[in-house]
Symmetry: D2
Subunit: 183 residues, 4 copies
């Protein structure tokens, strides 16, 4: 997304996402800071927690206070997983900032059967939300099938997360009429 496209996207989308590779694209940060839609700010692949919060500050300073932070994995020497999901960042951000922080366990690992364990871990660490991809037939998905869950795994995961959130005195928000139909 280019800074010029922000007004157009903001007219139709419910939320504006600033991708990891644009976390320090200041022209874009300024522009989404003027939009009246929530902004999902992904952490850069090699950004420190401080830089991430500074980028959020950049948006907020333009007037848009609806910023959601999203941890999606950092770059380390490990080659087995695509990235290393940094869950330490969750309690650290919770201490340093009032902004909500969610976790995207898909890119963090890039491996389907690692999505559920890391999603559970994220909630247990105090994350305010998750990004999960669901597909009725992940093995034949046209895109990102390798990191998508099927409906029945998703339902099982949501059940587990409901309990874990309860441990922290929290609940899972479920939109009215929300359903995943088991395949």
């Amino acid at each position: 997304m280019d800074s010029q496209q922000v007004p157009l996207v903001a007219r139709y989308a419910d939320i504006l996402q600033v991708g990891a590779r644009n976390m320090q694209n200041y022209a874009l940060l300024r522009e989404v800071g003027h939009a009246d839609k929530p902004v999902l700010l992904k952490r850069g692949l090699a950004s420190t927690i401080e830089e991430w919060l500074m980028s959020a500050e950049h948006i907020v300073s333009q007037g848009n206070t609806q910023v959601i932070l999203c941890e999606r994995g950092i770059r380390t020497f490990e080659t087995y997983t695509r990235n290393t999901l940094d869950l330490n960042a969750i309690p650290v951000v919770k201490e340093l900032s009032h902004l909500p922080v969610i976790v995207d366990p898909r890119h963090g690992t890039g491996i389907r059967n690692k999505v559920a364990p890391m999603a559970r871990a994220a909630i247990a660490a105090g994350a305010d939300g998750l990004i999960i991809e669901v597909h009725h037939d992940p093995d034949h998905a046209l895109s990102d099938g390798a990191q998508s869950l099927c409906p029945s795994s998703t339902l099982e995961l949501v059940d587990q997360i409901r309990t874990i959130a309860g441990v922290l005195g929290r609940s899972v928000w479920e939109p009215r009429g929300w359903r995943i139909l088991p395949a």
Copy 2:
């Protein structure tokens, strides 16, 4: 611990720990591989998951099959936390190996109020155990107070972990007569 000291230590200790800085000290690995006590093998600060499993293999190949893997944080560019606890490693190790894997959230962050969130996250990710330090008065502990929990926080954490373990169909093993006396 030096390889020469292994027989002496094994006579009195219940478990032999190979520290992160010695994960590839092959003389030591060989020696604990001949001991008849369980070995706790910490992951090196910059070791890949594969290297960690290879070090375990080194021990097992000498005859000692009682090896417990322990994730304790890897080195990244992040400076806010002392290390970055790599919880991705838990489901990966679970897939690649039959060995139990536990998590040490103390060194991973080095910050007391980050220990409980990361301990919960570790269990949610599938870890088989945790290393937690408890002190009746952590602020005045002679050593490692900054990463120790007080008794009441520990009791609360154990309760939370009992529920999270249940989500995964597991339970918390409690030694007979085990108690933490609240301060």
Copy 3:
């Protein structure tokens, strides 16, 4: 620099620089790919050599073949230097690509007395150029004084580089009438 500003900047500047934080800002890469000015493409702080070359490819694919690669330091666990200048990248890029590659030893270390050693090392490794900042009184410079050289150090460095370049059968290009006046 925003993609919208490229035509304006290209009218007046001799060269367009894509900064490290924008190395994967694809809207910007596309736009400078349409400009008729050379592009200096800095390597991202945590970009692999392959990603860096892919970003160059992005520019070249739009028609602008005048791309200069610039290594400026990557992010590692080391905290003594601001970044770690990756000179391994020079011979690797020379093998994989025909594009010229230069080195910016200022940001790589962020320390003045490390600039000259790393500048010499860069040329010895085969770099095609350097970015050096000179100030007649670095200690009182309004900006970036900490990484600027004074005129006499610069003259000494250029002399050293002339000899090192000669070792590789190369020479230092000196614009007609070029002079650094010793303070």
Copy 4:
């Protein structure tokens, strides 16, 4: 090498090498600190410069002041080269310590045609020495052929290094009668 073997090795070898994986094996450091032979202390794969110097201090504190530091590459996210040779460390060590520091460009890259560029760069950065492997027929070497130079490349490299060292007011020490016979 185990700490027990130090006296035996010291009786026959001219120099004791502490490998990268043992840089923080304190039992070994203490033992070589009592030997009367020079010690080559390799930098750990993920050791900071400060930790490296602390390990050297460990040896020196036992009485053995003949310590040579050796940079051999650190672990980063880059996968094209086996490790990333950190030449920034050379001027940093030169400032912080009086100990000689040499560079091992073999493991830093693990690729033969990268050895000569990185060897030249190391000397240009101020290194006091190099570790180079020479084989009369590297393609058929039983071990480490991929990172060995043939005699004629070595002679060419030594010539280049002689000139680069001269730029820094230094010379190449050549043992009396030393020769590499071109193949």
